[in-house]
C-alpha cells in the first residue's frame, strides 16, 4: 500500500473520518454499558425471565446457524462450482431476505403458516406450530441469517482452486471423497465465519420475530417490552447482558477456529 505523506490533506481527512466512524459505533454502546450499575446487572441476570430470554436467543440463533450449515453448505458449493442458466437470478433470490423489511418477513412467514394456507394446514396436521413457538422463531432466524452464511461460504469455496479437486479425482477419490478430504478442510475457516455471521444476524433480529412469536420471548423482544413498559433503566441491563454473552461466544468461536487451522 502506498503511504500517504503527513503533509497531505488526504492524511488528515482519512484520520478524521476513521476516528468519526469508530466513535459513532462505539460511543452509544460504551455509554449503554456504563450506565447500569453492577447491582442492576446482577439483579437482571438473576431474573429467570431475563436469563431464559437470553438463553432462548442463543439457542434459536444457534439452531438457525446449524440449519444453514446443513442445507446451506451443499448449496453454496453448487453455486461456487457451477455456471448455469439463471445462476444470477438464484443468487439474487438468496439476497432477498437481506433487503426485505423485517416485519414484512414476519408477516410473509405467518401468511404461509396460517391454517388458510395449504402449507400451514399441512404443518398443523403434523403438529408443527409456527405462531408463538420456538419453532417459529427458528424459522424466522434461519430466513434472515442463511443468506449471510451462503454468501460467505460460497466465496470460501470459490477461493479454493478447482484444480486441487481435479487432482484429487485423478488420484482416485470420488467427488464426495474429494469434497470431504480436500474441499471441506480448506473451506473450514469460511464455514466458521459464515456461521458466526449467520448467528450474529439471527441474534440481532427483532422485527420479524416480534410478529411471528412475541412469546416465548427472545432477548431483543424482552428488551423492547421492558423499554416500552418500564423505560430505559429496565431495558439497559438486559441489553448489556445480551451484548456481553454474544461477544464472549463469538470470541470463543474465533479462538477455536484460529487454533484449529494452524
Amino acid at each position: 500500500m502506498k503511504k500517504i505523506k503527513h503533509s497531505d490533506p488526504l492524511f488528515y481527512i482519512t484520520i478524521f473520518c476513521s476516528f468519526t466512524v469508530v466513535v459513532f459505533i462505539l460511543l452509544p454502546l460504551i455509554e449503554m454499558i456504563r450506565q447500569p450499575s453492577m447491582h442492576d446487572l446482577k439483579e437482571s441476570i438473576c431474573d429467570p425471565d431475563v436469563f431464559r430470554s437470553i438463553m432462548l436467543s442463543i439457542f434459536t440463533s444457534g439452531m438457525a446457524a446449524l440449519i444453514s450449515i446443513i442445507i446451506g453448505t451443499p448449496f453454496a458449493y453448487l453455486l461456487a462450482r457451477n455456471n448455469f442458466f439463471g445462476k444470477k437470478f438464484i443468487e439474487s433470490i438468496i439476497d432477498l431476505p437481506i433487503m426485505i423489511p423485517h416485519p414484512v418477513v414476519g408477516i410473509a412467514i405467518l401468511g404461509l403458516a396460517g391454517k388458510n394456507h395449504w402449507m400451514g394446514h399441512f404443518l398443523h396436521e403434523i403438529g408443527v406450530q409456527i405462531m408463538g413457538t420456538v419453532t417459529g422463531i427458528v424459522v424466522v432466524l434461519t430466513f434472515v441469517g442463511m443468506p449471510f452464511y451462503i454468501n460467505i461460504v460460497k466465496a470460501g469455496f470459490e477461493a479454493i482452486p478447482v484444480r486441487l479437486e481435479n487432482v484429487s479425482r485423478s488420484l482416485g477419490a470420488s467427488s464426495t471423497e474429494t469434497f470431504l478430504r480436500i474441499t471441506l478442510p480448506l473451506a473450514w475457516r469460511s464455514i466458521l465465519t459464515g456461521t458466526i455471521m449467520c448467528c450474529a444476524r439471527a441474534i440481532s433480529e427483532f422485527g420479524a420475530v416480534v410478529i411471528v412469536a412475541y412469546h416465548p420471548m427472545i432477548a431483543p423482544v424482552m428488551i423492547y417490552e421492558r423499554f416500552t413498559a418500564y423505560g430505559m433503566k429496565y431495558s439497559q441491563p438486559v441489553a448489556v447482558w445480551l451484548i456481553f454473552i454474544s461477544l464472549v461466544l463469538f470470541i470463543l468461536l474465533r479462538i477455536f477456529s484460529f487454533k484449529k487451522s494452524i
Binding site: R163, N166, V167, S170
Partner: protein, 345 residues
C-alpha cells in the same frame, strides 16, 4: 495404446476440433503449441475433468469416454503443482494410495523408492507452504506417480520453475519415464523441452492438430507454415518448384527431390546455413553470394542477416566463430546449404 478419435470440445468462443491421436504404451508424447491453443483443455478432457462434446478416448482398447476421472487411472499434474495445502508432504504423496488397494503390498515400497529418486525423504513431515518451486514440483510428481497411473498428463511442468530447477526436473522426468512403464503426455510451448524429452509430438494451433510425428520430423520437416515458424525456422520464403529446383526471388536452389506442385514456400533452419568468406566448390551444395545486412547479439550466438537475391537469409554463428571469421556488416560473404536442409511447405 491411447487412442483419441474425433475429440471435440465446444466452449463459448473456443473450439477443440476433431482431434485424432494415438499414443503408444510407454511413450513420451508432447503436445506443442503456443499459449491459448487448447492444449490444457485436451489434457483435461483426457483426464475426464472437462466435458467433451464429441468423440471418444480409448486406453488399451477400453473406451473410457464416459468414465468419471477417478475411474480412469490417468494422473494429471498442473503447472502450479496444485498440492493440497492442508496436508504434509507425505500425506500429499500418499493421498491416492487408499483408492488403489490391490497394489497396496508394494505401494509403500514404490512410494519410498519414488521419494528416494526425487530426493524427498528429508521433507516427508514438512507442510507444503515454504517449500521451493522445485521441491513442490517433485512432490507433485511423486504424488501423481505413487498410484501408478497408466498415463500421466503433465501440463507445462517446467514453465513455472527457475531455470536452475528446470534442468533438474527435466532430467528427473526423463529418468522417471525410463524407469517406469507409465506413458507420459506433456504439454509445453518450449521446443527445447520437447526435443529433450519427447519421442513423438503433436503441434496444436487454435484447437486443431497441425502436425503429428517424431520430434525430429517436426523439427526438420514442418508440415505447415505455422509449425515451421513455431519450431524456429527463421528462413521462410515463397517459392515455385520446377525440375528439382526451388525458384526464389533472384535465386535458384537445388532440392533433394522433386516436390509437389501444391507447396508454395521453402523453410530453412538458420543453423543449417553455412557462412563463408571465400567461395567453395559446390559439390552438391547450394552456394551463393550474399551481403551482410545485420549482426544481432542473441546471447551465446549471433544472428547474421545476409541479403542474397531479393531475400534476407538468417543464420547463426557462435561468438568465437564470428570473431575468427572477422566479418562485419556490409561485407560480402558466401552462403552454403545442403539440398536436404531445404524443406518445401
Amino acid at each position: 495404446m491411447i487412442k483419441i478419435e474425433n475429440l471435440c470440445i465446444k466452449l463459448p468462443g473456443f473450439t477443440i476440433d476433431n482431434i485424432n491421436l494415438s499414443i503408444k504404451d510407454g511413450e513420451f508424447f508432447i503436445f506443442l503449441g503456443p499459449t491459448g491453443s487448447g492444449k490444457t483443455l485436451i489434457l483435461e478432457a483426457i483426464a475426464g475433468i472437462r466435458q467433451i462434446t464429441g468423440g471418444s478416448i480409448k486406453v488399451k482398447g477400453k473406451d473410457i469416454t464416459k468414465l468419471a476421472p477417478e475411474q480412469r487411472g490417468i494422473g494429471i499434474m498442473y503447472q502450479d503443482y496444485s498440492l493440497f495445502p492442508h496436508l504434509s508432504v507425505m500425506d500429499n504423496i500418499t493421498f491416492g494410495l487408499r483408492y488403489h488397494k490391490s497394489k497396496s503390498n508394494n505401494s509403500m515400497k514404490w512410494v519410498e523408492s519414488l521419494m528416494g529418486l526425487l530426493g524427498l525423504e528429508h521433507l516427508a513431515t514438512r507442510m507444503i507452504t515454504n517449500l521451493s518451486g522445485g521441491e513442490k514440483q517433485r512432490i507433485a510428481l511423486a504424488r501423481a506417480l505413487a498410484v501408478k497411473p497408466s498415463l500421466l498428463l503433465l501440463d507445462e511442468p517446467l514453465s513455472a520453475l527457475d531455470p536452475n530447477f528446470r534442468e533438474d526436473i527435466r532430467n528427473i522426468l526423463k529418468k522417471l519415464h525410463e524407469k517406469s512403464e507409465i506413458t507420459f503426455l506433456m504439454v509445453t510451448h518450449d521446443f527445447t523441452e520437447a526435443a529433450y524429452l519427447g519421442q513423438r509430438a503433436a503441434v496444436i494451433k487454435n484447437g486443431k492438430i497441425e502436425q503429428t510425428g517424431t520430434v525430429a520430423e517436426i523439427f526438420k520437416q514442418p508440415a505447415t507454415m505455422f509449425v515451421a515458424k513455431f519450431v524456429g525456422m527463421k528462413n521462410i520464403f515463397p517459392a515455385t518448384f520446377n525440375n528439382g529446383k526451388a525458384i526464389l526471388d533472384g535465386l535458384d536452389l537445388n532440392l533433394n527431390a522433386s516436390c509437389n506442385k501444391d507447396k508454395k514456400f521453402i523453410a530453412i533452419r538458420p543453423e543449417d546455413i553455412m557462412i563463408m568468406k571465400e567461395k567453395i566448390s559446390e559439390n552438391g551444395l547450394n552456394v551463393f553470394q550474399g551481403k551482410i545486412t545485420a549482426i544481432t547479439d542473441k546471447g551465446p550466438f549471433c544472428e547474421i542477416s545476409a541479403k542474397a537475391g531479393g531475400l534476407i537469409f538468417k543464420t547463426l554463428l557462435t561468438k568465437s566463430a564470428l570473431f575468427k571469421m572477422d566479418i562485419n556488416e556490409t561485407k560480402n560473404i558466401y552462403l552454403a546449404l545442403m539440398p536436404s536442409d531445404i524443406h518445401p511447405i
